[in-house]
Amino acid sequence: MNEISLMPEEQYQRLQQRNAADVKELWDLLDQVKDPEVPVLTIWDLGILRDIEREGDKVIVTITPTYSGCPAMDNISTDVTEALNQAGYAEVEVKTSLSPAWSSEWMSAEGRKKLRNYGIAPPEDADLDEDGLTPDAHAQCPHCSSRNTRRISEFGSTACKALFQCDDCNEPFDYFKKI
């Protein structure tokens, strides 16, 4: 089935920012840095990578945490520095910015596909409940595409995910929460 991808405004703005960047090669270079918890996603896919600037020889990278306590941030910061160091940029500063707060809307379209193939349902694969939170059933199973699923826990293997089980193929799966 062909799908017409609808791009949220937030994603469009991010893409514009990347395409218009003076240091486009650095954005490409940092595509090798993956989220340690979800290793199919780059920090660009996830929307954690906010900005890259150059000040003389120095590269300043701005990242933002998904959740307040995301333990991956320290790793990501180290990985960003190492990737740039290896490419010959000796002076690197990684800044963490809290505002605007990360939103799952920032995740790239490519990232959503990768998530699904990896066995994690992306945020749009469930209809949210009236409070805008994870529903208690019917997130689409990333394994067999069934909607006959139910939520087992609000909190999955990491803070950004909830746990579901599919009643058709019986597989449990993570659902990437919308925030």
């Binding site: 306590g69 995301c70 505002s99 990360w102 826990s153 609000e154 909190f155 999955g156 293997s157 803070a159």
Partner: protein, 253 residues
């Protein structure tokens, strides 16, 4: 340091203390949860709070500008230097007790954070913006559990009612103002928590009533956390929380 800056440093420390102490208490459930998913949920909520504490402490350290880091705030202060609300330091108790405390705290943040979001202080506002999103999920979970336990078996009802009665007197302190917080509230930086009590009481009462739990009368109150007078529980908690850091100063791995 200006009065406002000194007050903001104190305020960020207080909010950080609330978060780290509650975060640690929640983390005490990890590997003791009633079932695996609940165990994982506890771990995640604890992480959210510890993450918040890191943001508040990092800001406090920046304001203090005296070489201290977030770690010094968390690990190198004694109980008398901690300024957290007493509710946060109460021991984990049984499952009902922890969920009732969590409900009280989650509703508190539900009414507090939208106000903090309006702060003229950009960092405090940014931290609130992140925390609001997480609190929605926290509240839904603690609310569900209190409903399920209150309106559950005779035993779970009894324990939930008891927990509510034991913790109620610790909730009044959440809405106290002092000079520091008044100064910040007047400056549009801090939140006037005294105005939040009614909203908190209404939301909590509605949930407790739905859970067939009797809302207690305001017959007693314990105070002191904001001035460093704690229950004996905090000292014990800190010894455990701080021992690794203090035993191996400067250790990195």
């Amino acid at each position: 340091m200006s009065d406002i800056k000194a007050a903001t440093l104190e305020y960020a420390t207080r909010l950080g203390d609330d978060s780290v102490v509650l975060g640690h208490r929640i983390s005490e459930w990890v590997s003791y949860g009633p079932f695996l998913e609940e165990d994982i949920a506890y771990g995640n909520v604890a992480l959210d709070y510890i993450g918040r504490a890191r943001m508040f402490y990092t800001y406090a350290a920046e304001l203090a500008n005296d070489g201290r880091t977030e770690d010094d705030f968390a690990y190198m202060r004694n109980d008398r230097e901690y300024r957290n609300l007493l509710l946060m330091e109460m021991p984990k108790g049984d499952f009902a007790y922890s969920q009732v405390r969590q409900l009280f705290a989650d509703v508190y943040y539900t009414v507090l954070l939208p106000e903090l979001l309006q702060s003229k202080d950009e960092t405090l506002s940014a931290i609130a913006a992140k925390a609001i999103k997480e609190t929605k999920y926290h509240l839904r979970r603690s609310r569900d559990w209190v409903l399920r336990l209150g309106d559950g078996t005779e035993e779970s009802h009894k324990r939930t009612q008891k927990a509510v009665e034991q913790l109620w007197g610790y909730t009044h302190e959440m809405f106290d103002m002092d000079e520091t917080e008044q100064l910040l509230a007047d400056a549009g930086i801090g939140v006037d928590v005294s105005k939040l009590r009614d909203a908190w009481h209404k939301m909590v009462s509605d949930i407790l009533t739905e859970a067939t739990i009797t809302v207690p009368e305001d017959s007693w109150a314990v105070r002191g956390g904001r001035t460093g007078y704690h229950t004996e529980n905090l000292g014990h908690m800190l010894t455990e929380m701080q021992i690794v850091h203090r035993s191996h100063p400067g250790c990195e791995w």
